[in-house]
């Protein structure tokens, strides 16, 4: 084990680079929140159209680099430390790290050309696709077959392949026949985004199942029928539930109906969480002293809250009120911080480890993050509910006045965000101090 946890281990370097992207996410998130609370803040120096993509892309790069590092590390661990194509993690790392960093620099200089979430010039699609293609090749070379494999291998495979497909699809606006029909273009854009998030969730959730098995010391769940049933439900949603993003777009009615129906299958997951809450709690009591487990448990709680909100948002009549409000932002924050980041930190702590004298910092950091996140999440939801109310009942109110009315909630959002950043700093730095 020690042999592949050296300083030159690129799977670990992937995770540490991911943590740097997380710090960048927090920094630009703070600047973005300040723009909400102090209108015009940095307007002439560092405007919101730069800050938002820096924040959002940093978050995406944190998710992607840490997810890749985790999958590559655990694939090797699964094979007792042997990794075919041993140079590939290094090659993939350099391609993606240089590309991701260049994208952030291009934003600082105000060079855009893409679209929401991928605002960079589409030329960067080439190295991203090459890097991701090599990741898929390395994964398939090491795993060879899906036969007799646990569910997380299926999830990693699905996530890796679908990410590349949907990422390329998100660039289809380059074709004139797509971009010259706004409604069709936006339909395909959100089709690809919905599946893209589903794809990286397959990578992350697959890794969390691997880690849970590791903590439990058996792989019974990963080979069980229920694990595969939930996996196929996840793939089904990845492929078809994205229609809930475009209820207000004048696209085909069947897109919306399919999105609505498929999204409602998530009630199965929701019901399962409620059904299993008692046994989940006793597992939590047994394992809560294990740091990676703490983060897995926090993610479970956030899955419950985020899924409840997601199901409500997927009902078109309710979506009508929530769409275009900060409720959507709250949902995204719950999913990316509460679920994805908590899971990725669990992997980071399992893989990198920490020094015992940092235990208290991690403890305080963990609780600070999660308690602030609850306040952060609620403040966004309340701001969203108020915006929906104003939109429907006071149509004459100007947008500026409406945003001013929401100011107290933005202040709460900023304050809780600052507390969350402090919590993250306490949690992230022990990972850099550890020499693994």
């Amino acid at each position: 084990m020690e042999q592949f946890r050296s300083n030159r281990d690129y799977t670990i370097i992937f995770i540490k680079a991911g943590l740097l992207f997380l710090l960048s996410t927090l920094l630009f998130g703070l600047l973005g929140a300040l723009e909400y609370v102090i209108p015009g803040f940095l307007k002439d120096v560092f405007t919101f159209e730069k800050i938002r993509p820096l924040h959002v892309s940093s978050a995406i790069f944190w998710i992607l680099t840490c997810a890749i590092g985790g999958v590559l590390f655990y694939v090797r661990e699964e094979h007792n430390g042997i990794f075919k194509l041993p140079n590939f993690p290094k090659i993939i790392f350099f391609i993606l790290a240089i590309t991701f960093s260049s994208i952030l620099v291009s934003y600082i200089f105000g060079i855009f050309g893409g679209r929401e979430y991928w605002e960079f010039d589409p030329i960067f699609t080439i190295p991203i696709s090459i890097g991701w293609g090599l990741f898929i090749y390395a994964f398939i070379t090491n795993m060879k077959t899906l036969k007799n494999q646990p569910v997380y291998i299926w999830m990693w495979f699905t996530g890796a392949v679908f990410f590349l497909f949907t990422y390329l699809e998100s660039n289809s606006w380059i074709l004139p026949q797509i971009r010259n029909n706004l409604v069709k273009d936006m339909t395909i854009q959100w089709k690809s985004y919905g599946s893209l998030v589903g794809a990286w969730n397959q990578l992350i959730y697959g890794t969390s199942i691997y880690l849970m098995d590791k903590i439990a010391g058996d792989k019974k769940y990963s080979f069980s029928k229920i694990a595969f049933a939930l996996y196929f439900l996840g793939v089904f949603n990845l492929m078809f539930n994205w229609g809930h993003h475009v209820y207000l777009l004048p696209t085909h009615a069947y897109v919306k109906h399919i999105g609505y129906l498929v999204s409602m299958t998530e009630l199965v997951l929701f019901g399962r969480i409620i059904y299993l809450w008692r046994s989940s709690l006793s597992t939590a009591k047994r394992n809560f002293h294990i740091v990676p487990f703490k983060f897995l448990f926090a993610a479970d709680v956030w899955v419950f809250l985020t899924l409840a909100l997601a199901i409500l948002m997927s009902i078109p009549v309710l979506n009508l009120y929530m769409h275009g409000t900060h409720i959507i932002v709250g949902h995204t924050m719950g999913a990316t911080i509460g679920i994805n980041t908590m899971l990725l930190l669990a992997f980071a702590y399992d893989i990198i480890g920490f020094r015992k004298n940092d235990s208290k910092k991690i403890y305080y950091g963990y609780w600070t993050i999660n308690l602030s996140l609850i306040i952060f999440w609620i403040s966004l939801i309340v701001a969203g509910v108020m915006k929906a109310y104003y939109q429907f009942n006071m149509p004459e109110m100007s947008y500026g006045v409406m945003i001013n009315q929401l100011w107290p909630w933005f202040l709460l959002f900023l304050t809780s965000g600052i507390c969350m950043i402090i919590g993250f700093v306490l949690v992230i730095f022990p990972l850099f101090k550890n020499k693994n």
Binding site: R52, F112, P250, G324, F392
Partner: protein
């Protein structure tokens, strides 16, 4: 669900359904009035280059710092749009656009407006939870 073959069959069926659905979407045309003219196409490029979506939405999709601009052409006058583009606002910076670029933006807003109505109040609500315009 138990055997490898049944798992592969399910996965293949899902992939076939997904590909079929995707082809259907790519092949069929969503309702739209006229395609954008050259000026509107240039306005669209500007929209992306200035990253307007960081703050503004189209059909409720985008940033939340500024208002949804899907039907701004219909709700406001051309002069109003031009003056905002010329000077910016308390929150929005002055992008130092020239007259030609401002015309392109206005034409782009005119085109977006022609694609539909993004006002949530214009939707009818049905008992089964669906909505229609």
């Amino acid at each position: 669900m138990g055997t490898y073959r049944s798992k592969i069959v399910i996965l293949i069926l899902l992939i076939i359904s997904f590909v079929t659905y995707s082809i259907l979407l790519y092949e069929s045309d969503s309702k739209q009035s006229a395609p954008p003219n050259k000026l509107a196409q240039k306005g669209r490029v500007l929209w992306q280059e200035k990253n307007c979506t960081a703050c503004h939405q189209l059909y409720g999709l985008g940033g939340h710092l500024g208002p949804d601009l899907t039907n701004v052409y219909e709700r406001r006058s051309e002069d109003y749009i031009k003056s905002i583009l010329h000077t910016g606002t308390v929150v929005m910076p002055d992008f130092k656009l020239n007259e030609q670029e401002i015309e392109e933006f206005v034409e782009f807003f005119k085109y977006i407006n022609s694609t539909g109505n993004a006002d949530p109040k214009s939707y009818k609500k049905h008992l089964d939870g669906t909505i229609s315009q």
